[in-house]
Assembly symmetry: C2
Homo-oligomer: 361 residues x 2
């Protein structure tokens, strides 16, 4: 299996780690072995991904003498909760996994977030490798160390910052991804262009059709540049006090949409797309984006088959749901807004009435 | 209220924090205020401690303009679990607590461990202050950043390393402590002498009667020197890879006792005392302690009204329960043993038969 592999190093001092991006990485045990403390791993996956990729990952590891435990969870955001997390703990304890056991997340963002959180908290922390199998998780949740689960009162309310030893982004896995989920991932790719990289946005406008068709070179490049943007932000601001908050463009609106519709009805990336359009609308009302820029944003989301209209929940419901988001400081809703394409700011300095107008659309 | 206060600084770089030790510290809001990010705290306590001390702590804070949420949990090790943890999360979310809300633990080790773990994981981490009200928690769990909960398959299996902003050890709270719990705390105090501080052990032999009577000066000194010993170890080894493991003298045996008898039947300190006697017995078999040293160890535990005999569980049951402990590396049981009083080692290099003889006593 010939493969071209790109590697990005996320710089976080003694918690730095590499992200390998390319085709057919899953089954290359030699990429994983140097990162194991001892030859024991627990692979956490779900009922959708495991039948497709578990054997490709596990068999080469077993051939190399690694003891592999397989933990297969139900699939879906609805299961990103305490009960499912306990299934991971139970399996680890039943197999007497020790502090030197490495947890491997094989799946999308839900599997990555839960496995990472289990790794952060099992025996107060065990090593952890991410193998994200969706575009969204390859460009988003595999960088930045955010792990966690949902609570009935809010998304990602329980969690920890915890860095993996290694991330493998195997572009081959995207070929089995449902079209809607591919689009949802592209929403996050576009986001990096919008918040801080106008050249990347320009490049995406030229390559969006190839990206949607999973052209190998374009897909790798899009993942690499997305991860690079995110890694740059995270390296500068690991605990989300400053620039990192701009990564949440569209997310405060988007989380309200996901929460109101019930987790899993809208995909995260779909909610972020609609939320980004709302952020653009508010930015325009503040005079920070012009009509042509808003049109470019809508156009690229449309080309990625993403929703550009949020559900009409009513202004007060939006305000209420947005208030629960983590990006609240002293009771005021802070939002990520655009000041042109490729430039974003985090601010709570906008007229309340302008926000209400955006929310009433 | 006149009070003499001693302060110890735990040095952990940008996560350093002070431990204040003395009488009547609880109600001195001015000790707490400088450590708050904003004037909002959630005080977590239990049904035993809250009626005694909640008002003493909360009212001066309210007088100073702090918004105080009170979260009162059922009392006991049996409640150190996921369900009780969720009561904390629920209350924080229902009160829309944000990242700048400080959690304050008011109670013993169980409250400290659970509140610290809630602080480590709520919104991926909020600030945290410890006000330990038992001798055990003042000398043990308030230093070192260990937080967590139990799992049906083992104690403290789920957790995180997370440092508080501040610890207040108010010696007045020890006056309402049941005698058994005072003894359990003294077990940990003695431990510091045994593992690394022969002068402190000598001092304790001379002062054990005064300590059991809660003489003010002796109590403060015992807490200060215990915390100093622990802080020295932790500062050198925050994540428990080296010397820190010696703090677990008696704990591998002790956890087996606690687990077998059902959490809460034996107090932690009682189990540690019996476990320390077992460790001393094994050390003697290896020729590392002489009869006189073993007798001194037994004598001081007896003076503290602590058990010096472990329950007869049978060798295989002990081995099985000890195997689940976190101090296992590559399937071999590592133990903390004595090489004289004031010197301890962590080793798995002992004849299995010697361990079996100790366990069969």
């Amino acid at each position: 299996m010939a493969s071209t592999m790109q590697t990005l190093e996320v710089s976080l001092g003694d918690r730095s780690y590499p992200i390998h991006i390319g085709q057919h990485l899953l089954s290359q045990a030699e990429l994983i072995l140097p990162h194991l403390k001892r030859k024991q791993v627990a692979i956490v996956s779900n009922t959708t991904v495991a039948p497709l990729y578990m054997a490709q990952l596990a068999e080469p590891l077993r051939m190399a003498g690694v003891k592999v435990i397989e933990i297969i969870l139900p699939d879906g955001e609805a299961y990103k909760n305490t009960e499912t997390l306990n299934l991971i703990y139970d399996a680890l304890l039943q197999n007497r996994c020790e502090r030197s056991t490495t947890l491997i997340a094989l799946g999308g963002g839900v599997i990555g977030d839960m496995t990472g959180y289990a790794a952060a908290t099992y025996l107060r922390g065990v090593p952890f490798i991410q193998i994200p199998t969706t575009l969204l998780s390859q460009v988003d949740s595999s960088v930045g160390g955010k792990t966690g689960i949902n609570h009935p009162l809010g998304k990602n309310m329980i969690g920890a910052f915890y860095q993996p030893q290694l991330v493998l982004a195997d572009t081959e896995t995207l070929k089995t991804l449902p079209a809607r989920e591919l689009s949802a991932g592209v929403a996050e790719v576009i986001k990096y262009g919008l918040i801080r990289d106008v050249k990347f946005f320009d490049w995406l406008e030229s390559n969006i059709v190839k990206l949607m068709a999973l052209d190998t070179a374009v897909t790798s490049e899009a993942i690499y540049r997305s991860c690079q943007n995110k890694a740059d932000v995270v390296a500068a601001d690991e605990h989300e006090t400053g620039e990192r908050a701009t990564l949440n463009l569209g997310h405060t609106f988007g989380h309200a949409v996901e929460n109101a519709m019930g987790y899993g009805v809208w995909l995260h990336g779909e909610a972020v797309a609609a939320g980004t359009i709302m952020a653009a609308d508010l930015s325009k009302r503040l005079g920070w984006l012009n009509d042509a820029e808003v049109a470019r944003i809508s156009k690229i989301f449309k080309a990625a088959n993403l929703p550009i209209e949020a559900p009409k929940l009513g202004v007060d419901k939006y305000i209420d749901l947005m208030g629960l988001d983590k990006k609240v400081v002293d009771g005021k809703i802070r939002l990520v807004l655009q000041q042109g394409i490729g430039k974003s700011v985090v601010t709570s300095d906008y007229p309340a009435e302008a926000l209400r107008q955006t929310l009433s659309l």
